[in-house]
Amino acid sequence: MSVKIEYHKFDVVVVGAGGAGLNAAQVASQYCKTAVISEVYPTRSHTISAQGGISAALGNLEEDHWHWHMYDTVKGSDYLCDQDAAEYMTKQAPEMIIALEHIGLPFSRTPEGKIAQRPFGGHTAEFGKRAVKRACYAADRTGHAMLQTLYEKSVAQGTHFYSEFYALELLVNDGAVNGVLCFDIQNGELHIFNAKAVVFATGGNCRIFQTNSNAHINTGDGLALAMRKGFSWSDAEFFQFHPTGIYGAGNLITEGVRGEGGILLNAQGERFMERYAPTIKDLAPRDIVSRSMTKEVLEGRGVGQFKDHTLLKIDHIGAANIMEKLPGIHELALVFAGVDCTKEPIPVNPTAHYQNGGIPTGYLSQVIKGNMEKEEFVPGFFAAGECASASVHGANRLGTNSLLDLVVFGRTAGEQAAKYAMANSIVSLKDDAGSEGLANLQKYANANGKYTFGEIWGELTRTMQTKMGVFRTEKLMKECYSTLLELEAKMDDYRVNDKSSVYNLDLIEALELNNMILVAKACTQAAILRKESRGGHFRDDYPDRDDVNFLKHTEVYLEEDCKTPRVDYRKVRLQPLTVETFPPKARVY
């Protein structure tokens, strides 16, 4: 079968159009010819759903310093983040926020007209002494305001957009990344983008869990594409289970609710976080709050018919305050919980929210390939945002650091990719460039077997939810892995009913499911081998952190079969750029 492929040449190709991708694109477009490839129209990317804020030590309402922010980030990460990246991000944060404001982001304001700030989980003054107002926000629509502003800016900047293009294969020639094979969802045509530099900003993968806050598109495609080409997924076992997902639906209720004074209650009406984090209580980092809530439920103090969740109370701050600062939350609680939060508490449960790890990068967003002995930057390959790991989140991300990560490392990736593109000539495509992605596409386009998306995805997400969730054990995770192998085998007996060339969502779901099974296997294998508890990875069989054996990044590669995870490790960069290292300490709040 002959296949027609359209070829394009660009200096920089950005895959993904969320906050990181668009910030990379608008910056790179200022220097060179830049394209953005996105599975959805850019304004449909998942950054749009971010609610509560973006942190920066602006000190608009009280004294604050980037060094305090850095400390919180390192401690929040359970000391697994790279401290050079944590310094880089927190130091750049204030200037980054100002840059966003200057391009139009409609931040909420203080009475004197400065950018307003509010408290968020794990953000403290003077190295842990008290909560601090550090999160800049646009009501509870910060991500929405940011994504649209960045889209508008990149339009103004002349970025070339290829929307509803789905990436099938990352192209590599002689060790250098030089392009992407894509599928035009609207008409089924194939495109190869040959580029001097490629930026991955493909987002997360929490759709592998049954209860999650993620959009349909968050299926780990970028990770799967990178892993199939011999790159790794760093710290794959660390997921963030956000404490306040709406019970039953998983949709997010921002931590900003607790930042504005909301509290968590158990069946006895007790504000239980006072017991678990006496200093900052409900504003403890997310891993700690999620575990505390789950413990309350396991010990019989859950609410509702099945005593299986807790309550988030916010009505005491007053309806007017809620409608001004948290209007979106009011709407979500009404639709997804049937609750008017100006009068009643919202039923909540932890929800899979964020992938803390990702494609490993240096603090300048260059993708790293490495292990404990050596590491090197991959020519032409950059990554930023949730799909990447600089690493600033380590084992647990602080609330509001995700939007900051997107824009800081997105901008850096854009600058570095442009710089790289201007200094290097294009690496030509291999003769068979795209053949692997094309073979995979044809496998599913012609799949006439037995199993369809609904049943396999259902079992995948139920399994991940019950066996790879907030509390883990070796036994559960091994069971999880065997189920994943069974599901993987079923993918060889799969059926795509839809044979149309136009907007074939059935085919896209098959490709996404195939990627989801791969990333689920990778993170489960990483979790089995990390025999300690740290941040978002908590094991009943190894409840303590073990810095002697596990203060290191996991790096999951694939074996040559491109299916079986091979778990390796890499050193944590404990040395910051200019300040002193924050040595690992017990994590108490």
Partner: protein
């Protein structure tokens, strides 16, 4: 368990000469079952070929505008029970070209949005700090910046259907969001684009856009404000 009949617009240009409607039965499996849950139930359990857009599933990404029993809405924020009907007709957004089933071509919609220069235009140099904006000035953006670009407004507008060049309520709303922003200095660049027979004068104050907006915004009011500004400038 309540079962509801869905009659859904189908069209695949690869095989269909013309569109048709296909009927499905959907179980409402819990209180508050959403239109998107219903579409997913059909796709994942009955007919994988049914095609529609969706992403965030919480009413902010704007992917899933649909016409349900004659009214534009987001599938992820609409409870089936709230429709008060056991027979539900689902169609693509009207006035836009259908690509397949419930998926419409939105390029024209986005191009019109871009045409009004939807970004902050500054002539003065920026300060080192943020550009100060009083809470009162910031409040002027409320009811404007929350637009999710779903297209429910423009595709409900008879003027938008009739005049293929009409910018539509969405573009006007976004233009006004920047014109009233105390930090913006680009009104004089945007007003001539809006002051066109395919611009704000094409609105006949039918208010369909206001009815259709899932975020309860008011594009007609934005259009009226722009017209007033244009008239004031002529005096």
């Amino acid at each position: 368990m309540t079962t509801v009949t869905f009659e859904i617009f189908r069209y695949d240009p690869d095989k269909d000469k013309e569109p048709y409607y296909q009927t499905y039965k959907v179980e409402l499996r819990r209180p508050g079952y959403l239109m998107l849950d219903a579409l997913n139930q059909i796709k994942w359990e009955q007919d994988p070929t049914l095609t529609y857009r969706r992403s965030c599933r919480e009413g902010v990404c704007g992917s899933d505008g649909l016409n349900v029993n004659g009214v534009n809405m987001l599938s992820c924020m609409t409870k089936v029970e709230d429709l008060g009907a056991d027979h539900i007709v689902v169609q693509p957004l009207p006035g836009m070209n259908v690509m397949r089933d419930l998926v419409v071509d939105v390029d024209d919609f986005f191009n019109k949005f871009i045409a009004v220069k939807p970004y902050l235009i500054r002539k003065s140099p920026n300060p080192d700090k943020e550009i100060y904006q009083s809470p009162e000035d910031r409040k002027k953006l409320d009811g404007l910046y929350e637009c999710i670009l779903c297209g429910c407004c423009s595709s409900s507008c008879p003027s938008f259907w009739a005049d293929k060049k009409y910018l539509g309520p969405n573009a006007a709303l976004r233009a006004w969001r920047y014109i009233v922003d105390s930090r913006d200095e680009g009104a004089e660049e945007r007003l001539p684009i809006l002051n066109d027979k395919h611009g704000v004068w094409r609105c006949h104050t039918i208010y369909n856009c206001v009815e259709a907006c899932p975020k309860e915004l008011n594009p007609t009011e934005a259009i009226m404000n722009i017209r007033k500004m244009l008239l004031d400038q002529q005096v």
